[in-house]
């Protein structure tokens, strides 16, 4: 491969970069990790570009590479707990606090925000990835299982466990008030 190939590749992936970055952000929960995952994914994609030529959809192919890179990244991050980023994974809408006056609602919302971030950090990498893909991205369980190379039942169980952890955290928060 030469420099021209690099430029062609970069121009091809440029139109998907925003999508990939946001997907990585939803899975990893912080900007630096998302940036690293996207870079690793694009590097992997470039190295395996010949494999893509047999496929039809670039975004689907890049998506699969990115999800698996993110999973590797989360696993590596888990081994280094000092690097678990406390940044929020998800914005918690005001649903929980909607009935409360503004200052209190903001406080509850911030609590939820922090609680969801914390509980996402306690999830196993597979729980986190499957939950993010199902809940934030709206992917079907079948699609998630195929992307990760796991069984449908396994994917379901990871999602169930993730949901249980979320419920436990948020319902504890609700009952504490």
């Amino acid at each position: 491969m030469n420099d021209g190939d690099v430029e062609v590749f970069l121009s091809l992936v440029e139109r998907h970069r925003r999508y990939l970055y946001n997907l990585a952000l939803r899975i990893t929960g912080n900007e630096q990790d998302a940036k690293d995952v996207v870079q690793d994914s694009l590097l992997n994609a470039f190295v395996h570009l010949q494999e893509f030529e047999r496929r039809a959809d670039l975004r689907t192919w890049l998506n699969r590479i990115l999800v698996n890179c993110a999973l590797d990244h989360l696993r590596a991050r888990r081994r280094r707990p000092d690097l678990n980023d406390p940044q929020p994974i998800a914005d918690v809408a005001d649903t929980v606090a909607s009935s409360l006056p503004d200052p209190e609602r903001l406080a509850v919302s911030a609590d939820c925000h922090r609680q969801v971030s914390e509980v996402m950090n306690t999830m196993s990498p597979l729980e986190r990835v499957t939950f993010a893909l199902r809940h934030f991205e709206g992917r079907s369980i079948n699609e998630i299982a195929q992307t990760l190379g796991i069984g449908n039942n396994a994917a379901k169980q990871h999602i169930f466990r993730a949901v249980r952890k979320i419920r436990l955290a948020l319902e504890t928060l609700g009952s504490g008030r």
Binding site: E14, T95, V116, G151, Q157
Partner: protein
Amino acid sequence: MSHLSDDDLVLHYYGEDGARMVAVERHLRSCAQCSRGYEELARTLNAVTPPELVEPADDTLEIRRLIRDRMSGRVSPRVSGLTGLEQEAGVIALVWLVLLAYPWALQALFSSGRWAQDHVAFVPLVVLTLIWACAGPFVAVFAVNRMAADRGRERASTRVLVAGALLAAISPALFLLVSRMNAILSLNLGMWSWYGVVALGSLVSLVRWPSTFRSTARFSLVHRLSALVLTVFVLGHVINQALAFVSVPAYTAMRSVMRAASHQPAIYTLIVAAVAIQIVTGAAIGMKNVRAGAVARNLQAVSGWYLAAFLLIHVLSGLFASQPQAAAATTARAVNELNLLASPRAAAALPFLLLGVAAFLFHVGVYARLAALAYLAEASVRRLSYAGAFVGTTVVVTVGLALFGIHLVL
């Protein structure tokens, strides 16, 4: 319809309950308890929303640099692995050191065993040297768990690490194979044949490997079916080896029955075919599955590598037995008589057999754990895993004691 479980409600929330969707919805309309549970779930999950879409910073220059570095063979610090270049170098050095030092571990095991027979104070030394001799597979799991994210094994350092881990994992079996081939071919190369094999392994790791199968899913069914056949035989052997600790006569009787059965042409062919399928499919699955941080997968792969080497040697043992080699006959006698400290050569069978039992238990145990996770709650699986680990450790220790010549009934 009976009450809906939490998992049913989650599936319904995500619209993943397929054909049951209408029935579940109808039930939710008629059952106040389930309806309340669903509302609580929906309220909680509705509260968890994704971050706003953001515009990423333009890092095209950085990506271009990473790709050019890769093309020119240079490795950027971050891509070299999340654990850092020095750590990767350290892990590579460790796996190859384990390989190079393996003959010394056997010598130390044999010597300390001899001293322990004279004086009980040397028993801890025997345990330490046994741990050293059995370290290969564990170091291999440690190493692959820390390898950089390089799925295609594109980087030479990844290949050196994976090849070193593979050889370290199978070192007890490989050492036995090399020393037997050395004897059969009358090469008289001594330790040089071992170091020659290690050097060959390092050379293979330097050349680019052919790309692995994109998906190994099609092998899984064949792998599991052949594993089922082998499990029956291997489990019989493991039980028999553990029985040797309790009673030598019972062990000998059971071994005779099992040998007579396995020497039947049809059964022998079935075993050899199952071993061949295991090795071929296991090699494809195992090489693809190892990756940083995936402890269960790595344990499964490394124990699979060892089992493949272990089974191969067992199948080839018929060939070795047919050779009129005094040394091989002495080793076979020592194994049969459960006196593996009879000679340094016989001592090599000690880590080989012990790790064979441990690899089998790990391989089946990790598979069972991963399969159970699809059906049981994590806490239940964890409890079952602890129970399994306790039973497995007891079996390995029992077999180890028997191999050291310690029996309740002689």
